[in-house]
């Protein structure tokens, strides 16, 4: 028995659909629209009234609407390997397809330009290059150094921050040229302030999930994180999170949990199977609930409006895809401690080297330091051909069995 959060009722119709409608409208009115890859400092775009479109988000929408594989197959017919990132294949397919009526929300509006960053993976760079080629629109790449020691925001080597800022200093003239407007420093400070507020609210929301029983699970979190990820520097994001926070506050006060008999508290690493979000209900049916996702914690970061560029460097450089494994271990370790977790789920993602390689170290280290076991699951974020439900469920049930013995 699970309870849904009221704030999340009709999330897709109330928030995702209008977001794509607005983006289409902006594009039709000749306003600047940009495709953005995750780990890109979207706050700068928002400060310049550029509408961000996230191919990653769109791929997850296509997966949830069960069309991602059909789109991936179109990319594969154009010789894009089936082993590539399924987000990339779905969105490349969405651009190459002639059957536009199968595209959720009418597809992604054609952008004015594209921006990406190397702060997550080389796939972003190559994928956006392919999109840029087919769309015949320019791409700006933020060439971000790798944070190999896995330092957090406070301990980042100075030269990494400096180089990050130097990249932003090259980005800004590009944006100014593309949009024919100057970046207004006050607007940037305002965007940073808004984004910071959104981030703090999101962290406040996460804090409530530490409560036993936890009032919110992964399914709701993976919906709600949309604002944090895609449009953090908006009042819309703040309003939504305030409402959500209030609801969680109320629930924790009354000890209303996500599920009635909470037995196992899980941490979910990386992405969900967007095509099968019901999987979280299945976990619930086993008495398990997800109390934290790494995905809900990588996009947060305290921003200082007085030092906008430096704080963006500190927000995005230490995201764990851009770091040596220590960072990911620390993050999961801290989540497991703070959220009183007794199990970790580490999903691989067929087309994703960054997330898949190194999971064994995470598993060993967490067990060594906390005695909390992990389960590695071979899945995919949006290509269900790389997902064997019977096998996955068998593994999960075995894992729950182990957890039950530790009860």
């Amino acid at each position: 028995m699970t309870t849904r959060l009221q704030t999340l009722e009709g999330f897709y119709q109330n928030h995702i659909q209008p977001y794509y409608q607005n983006a289409h409208q902006a594009q039709q009115q000749g306003k600047p629209v940009a495709y953005v890859a995750s780990t890109f400092p979207v706050e700068i775009l928002q400060a310049m009234n550029i509408t961000p479109i996230w191919p990653e988000n769109y791929a997850s929408v296509c997966a949830a609407r069960q069309v991602s594989v059909r789109l991936a197959e179109i990319a594969e017919r154009h010789d894009y390997s089936r082993d590539l990132c399924s987000y990339a294949r779905a969105t490349i397919g969405s651009i190459l397809t002639k059957e536009k009526d199968i595209l959720p929300e009418g597809g992604m509006p054609k952008p004015t330009f594209l921006v990406a960053s190397t702060a997550a993976c080389d796939t972003h760079l190559k994928w956006f290059q392919v999109l840029s080629h087919h769309l015949k629109r320019p791409l700006f790449l933020l060439d971000i150094p790798y944070n190999s020691s896995g330092a957090d925001a406070e301990n980042l080597p100075k030269h990494l921050i400096q180089h990050y800022i130097s990249q932003l200093e090259e980005l800004i003239p590009f944006l100014e040229k593309q949009t024919d407007t100057r970046l207004d420093k006050n607007k940037l400070r305002k965007a940073i302030t808004l984004s910071n507020r959104t981030s703090n609210l999101w962290l406040e929301i996460q804090d409530y999930r530490k409560h036993i029983p936890t009032p919110m699970g992964a399914r709701d979190a993976f919906s709600a994180v949309f604002f944090m990820l895609c449009i953090p520097a908006t009042q819309t994001a703040i309003d939504f999170y305030e409402k959500l926070r209030d609801e969680l506050k109320e629930r924790t006060k009354n000890d209303i949990g996500k599920i009635l008999n909470e037995r196992y508290r899980l941490i979910w690493d990386n992405l969900p199977m967007w095509f099968n979000l019901k999987f979280f209900n299945y976990l619930n049916s086993l008495g398990a609930v997800t109390v934290a996702e790494t995905f809900s914690h990588v996009w947060t970061g305290s921003l200082n409006p007085q030092k906008p560029l430096e704080s963006l460097a500190k927000k995005y450089l230490p995201n764990f895809a851009n770091c040596g494994i220590e960072r990911r271990i620390d993050l999961i370790l801290n989540l497991a401690k703070d959220f009183h977790a007794n199990g970790i789920i580490l999903p691989t993602n067929w087309g994703c080297r960054m997330m898949s390689i190194g999971e064994t170290i995470v598993k060993e280290e967490i067990y060594k330091k906390l005695g909390v076991p992990s389960l590695i699951l071979d899945v995919d974020s949006s290509d269900w051909r790389n997902y064997d439900e019977t096998q996955v469920k068998r593994k999960v049930e075995g894992f729950i069995e182990i957890l039950s013995r530790k009860d």
């Binding site: 080389d122 080629h133 190999s148 180089h163 071979d378």
Partner: protein, 375 residues
């Protein structure tokens, strides 16, 4: 020919050669795994830089416990060797972010092997002035790290000398490639690959000596090559001659390549500069690009087209290592561009294991027959 055998021996006996060198010279052996690693700097502390290679001789066993199925089989093979202690003699490993597979497998090397020194070279994906400045600083930090760790001094003079020896190696390798412009080429692709691989496994001084001997002797080789379909091979790394041997037993001959164990490794020399680190950093960031570099597919394509012209290439085979994302993303457009110039292209996705090779042979054979059939 004896000299060809010498290159082959260096390749096959690489671990013993490195260990012997280490014992004789009492100096460190340092592994590297990206063609963006400035070997000149490593060599300048009188260390032996060697490229980390995998092996198809044995199947991977240990690495499978740590790497998921969707990781690059070449990275898996190298890690497997390290876990089996084949690389236990290494005093250091230098890697970079020129490939996600290796960038992340680096964590596993650090975690599960006992190599005493690790260094990560942050390699830009662009070659703008700011990237050049960053890379220059990064290589300066690398130099200082080597000096400190291995208790050595790297002077400009040492660097200049090393650069000279490395550039000589590059010039000599180009002369070897020139031999392949002839029809039939004077040297096979398999033999050339053994030469290139061996250059990454011994000192360039020794390699240069062997190359000079080869260039002198080979025009009169007793076993000249036979005419065959002239091929360019493109792909990422090729650390085994198996694939080229197949090509060369079914009527093809490799005359040139776009590989990081080929032209991408040695094509560009280091230019003269008062500041040798600057000269080195420029060379590496501007060299014939690997696909992880941003916005330089045109450059890569032009390099391939120029080679096709200069080496009278009849067809192209692309060997794509499975899960090598940057190459896989480039592949459709690269293929399209070459086909638009009426160049036949065969794309082969493969895993770095022996078992997958039989079906490859049939496909290559059919492709070569097809190329021959074109009037």
């Amino acid at each position: 020919m004896q000299v060809l055998q010498s290159f082959r021996d260096i390749f096959h006996k690489r671990h013993n050669i490195a260990k012997t060198w280490k014992n004789q010279h009492k100096r460190p052996v340092i592994g590297w795994n990206s063609t963006y690693t400035p070997e000149e700097i490593i060599r300048s502390i009188n260390a032996l830089p060697i490229r980390i290679l995998g092996s198809m001789e044995s199947t991977t066993t240990q690495a499978d416990a740590y790497l998921p199925r969707n990781a690059c089989s070449f990275a898996r093979s190298t890690l497997d060797l390290a876990l089996k202690s084949d690389y236990a003699y290494l005093d250091g490993l230098v890697t970079s972010n020129s490939c996600d597979n290796f960038g992340k497998t680096y964590d596993l090397w650090r975690h599960y092997t006992k190599i005493p020194y690790f260094h990560f070279i942050n390699t830009p994906h662009t070659n703008t002035p700011k990237s050049h400045q960053f890379f220059y600083d990064e290589l300066t930090r690398f130099k200082e790290s080597l000096e400190k760790t291995f208790n050595a001094q790297i002077t400009n003079k040492t660097l200049q000398n090393t650069i000279r020896v490395y550039n000589e190696n590059r010039t000599l390798l180009k002369k070897v490639y020139d031999l392949r412009k002839k029809d039939p080429p004077i040297i096979t692709g398999t033999e050339t690959l053994e030469i290139i691989l061996s250059s990454m496994l011994t000192t360039k001084q020794k390699h240069n000596k062997l190359l000079k001997q080869l260039l002198k002797e080979i025009p009169n080789r007793p076993d000249p090559t036979k005419p065959a379909v002239r091929l360019l091979i493109t792909g990422s790394i090729m650390d085994t001659t198996d694939l080229l041997q197949i090509v060369e037993t079914v009527g093809g001959i490799t005359v040139t390549d776009d590989l990081c164990t080929g032209t991408r490794y040695f094509w560009n020399p280091v230019s003269a500069d008062k500041d040798p680190i600057k000269a080195i950093s420029k060379r590496y960031l501007n060299k014939i690009p690997s696909p992880f570099m941003y916005d330089r597919q045109k450059e890569r394509l032009n390099h391939i087209k120029q080679l096709i012209k200069d080496y009278k290439v009849e067809a192209v085979i692309q060997f794509l290592l499975k899960f090598c994302d940057t190459h896989m993303f480039d592949s459709p457009l690269l293929t399209e561009e070459l086909k638009a110039e009426d160049i036949p292209v065969l794309n082969i996705e493969y895993e770095h294991t022996r078992s997958g090779i039989a079906p490859i042979k049939t496909r290559i054979e059919a492709f070569i027959e097809m190329v021959k059939g074109v009037p």
